[in-house]
């Protein structure tokens, strides 16, 4: 390979390495105890003044943890961490001022007058060396094979912490990819949904899909957090969508259960779901509620809000022997259906009284989006939520029979 080609492939490799650093989602974030803990331990075990968790970005080092210095970033050029990530092995300089390769280095000749450095490269899941766990001193030191092994063990610990963060990011993007992009255009109905994720990604999602004669709507919650729950949620969504084209709501849920039950039993998880099909001509909603229990029918005529109770067991609970029954509801003009996740309940007091509060909040909503906004407004702003808030609303247009506005909408039909 010629020099130019080598340079080209080095540039590509470095570009990919920097992308891997950035994908970790750690650059420019606040210090965290889970990284500080490891750096502090390294500092104490090796009796050195400085210990850092560094990430080597394109042209700078960012210190996620920095014991013994207040500096959070330095230029990459001339840095020992940048040299350390060139090779997989521990990079050790026992006395920099006595070594002609480093004695003129600005970090050696000038501040902080570095003499000793030992850095263990941190490897990201894709194999890229993204940074180091390193210790440093302004006095020369010896660093034995046992010291190298210990630094290596501590670095593996930091790598695990880095992956936790990256996995949360990936799970969040899987979860975001589950949500439908734009509301469907329907004759005489509007539909809206929202999902506000908590920091720990859960397995909530909502969905809608236009089918011949109407639309299906779904709100489901996979017990658990992180990538595992997000992957099960993706499977539930895909199977429900595919199966709903040929089968009724109960058949679609049965197919979904068959598809995910082995995974659910293996992971000790389960799924609750509300899955409905609206016939936009007959104005009839058929639904199955698999242990969800958090759906409200708000009649436009001012009658009482009705909670739609579960019609069968969650997915993944073979101990509950029972059918999931299909229930049918007629929707009058102005009637509203709202279904939401237990995260909504939990920001209130978690009991059935908080279901009534949701009902009070959405009564009088003028559109599906208005109803969704009203439910989200129940959550206190600025408080970290333990669980996702997921809401889906469906509203039949128009005002109830006998109310002002009803006559005018009929008049329009005559025109």
């Amino acid at each position: 390979m010629g020099g130019a080609q080598q340079g080209q492939s080095d540039r590509v490799a470095e570009h990919e390495r920097v992308a891997a650093v950035r994908r970790l989602g750690v650059l420019d974030t606040e210090p965290e105890e889970r990284f500080d803990r490891v750096a502090r331990l390294a500092q104490q075990l090796f009796h050195v003044p400085n210990a850092m968790v560094s990430l080597v970005d394109a042209d700078r080092l960012f210190y996620k943890a920095h014991i013994g210095t207040a500096v959070t970033q330095i230029p990459r050029r001339h840095s020992f961490c940048s040299m350390a990530i060139a090779e997989p092995a521990t990079f050790v300089v026992e006395d920099a001022s006595a070594d002609p390769r480093y004695s003129a280095n600005p970090y050696v000749a000038g501040d902080p007058r570095l003499r000793f450095y030992a850095g263990q490269p941190l490897v990201a899941p894709g194999g890229h060396r993204v940074g180091t766990l390193c210790v440093a001193d302004d006095r020369p030191r010896e660093f034995s094979a046992a010291d190298r092994a210990l630094l290596g063990d501590l670095a593996r610990w930091v790598e695990k912490e880095l992956i936790v963060e990256a996995e949360l990011e990936r799970a969040a993007s899987v979860q975001a990819g589950l949500l439908p992009a734009a509301p469907p255009v329907l004759d005489g109905y509007d539909v809206a949904g929202a999902c506000l994720p908590a920091r720990a990604v859960g397995g909530d999602f909502y969905d809608w899909d236009v089918v011949p004669g109407g639309v299906t709507v779904t709100l489901a919650d996979v017990m658990g957090k992180g990538m595992g729950a997000a992957i099960i949620a993706a499977t539930v969504r895909a199977v429900l969508r595919a199966s709903s084209r040929a089968r009724g709501v109960d058949g679609a849920l049965a197919d979904t259960q068959a598809a995910v039950e082995p995974d659910l039993l293996g992971s000790g998880s389960f799924v609750t779901a509300f899955h409905a099909r609206l016939d936009t001509t007959a104005h009839e909603l058929s639904y199955v509620d698999a242990g969800h229990g958090l759906s409200l029918l708000v009649p436009a005529d001012g009658g009482g809000v009705r909670r739609l109770t579960s019609t069968g067991p969650p997915l993944g609970i073979p101990e509950y022997v029972g059918e999931r029954l299909v229930t049918r509801l007629a929707l009058a003009p102005g009637d509203l259906l709202v279904t939401f996740s237990d995260g909504v309940l939990d920001v209130l007091d978690g009991t059935l009284a908080s279901v009534d509060r949701v009902g009070d909040a959405v009564r009088g909503a003028t559109s599906a989006q208005d109803a969704v906004d009203r439910v989200l407004a129940l959550a206190p702003a600025g408080v970290e939520r333990p669980d996702d808030l997921t809401v889906l609303a469906l509203r039949r247009s128009g005002a109830p029979a006998g109310a002002p506005g009803h006559a005018s909408s009929e008049g329009k039909d005559d025109a």
Binding site: M223, G224, G293, L294, G312, E319, D346
Partner: protein
């Protein structure tokens, strides 16, 4: 937010009584499941979970109870729950899981429910 505490007792009749106190959510749920597995492995296959002081339970907590039920039944025993708070009872009723984990009014009732 307080972390869950978990007390365990083995009665003279060999039945294990577990008392999770506080919030039975994600981290606490895996602790509870581990303790159920542990007492079942020691031969106490009938387990009563007294929920009187469980202030809050989410779906992860429910998952731990179901997981514990499976462990106990696999060993030929059972897991029963007693004295759930209103919030815990709400979670069981909404999800229909009260059909699988029937709440008992007292630990004694749960023990005798065989």
């Amino acid at each position: 937010m307080t972390r869950m505490q978990l007390d365990r007792d083995v009665r003279p009749d060999g039945i294990a009584v577990l008392r999770p106190r506080g919030r039975l959510t994600m981290v606490a749920a895996s602790d509870l499941k581990a303790v159920v597995d542990d007492v079942v492995a020691q031969g106490h296959t009938v387990v009563v979970v007294d929920l009187h002081e469980t202030e809050f339970m989410d779906s992860s907590g429910l998952g731990a109870l179901v997981g514990g039920l499976r462990s106990a039944r696999a060993a030929g025993g059972d897991l029963r729950i007693a004295r759930p708070s209103t919030q815990v009872r709400t979670v069981l009723e909404l999800t229909t899981m009260d059909r699988v984990l029937r709440p008992h009014a007292s630990v004694e009732d749960a023990v005798g429910a065989g």
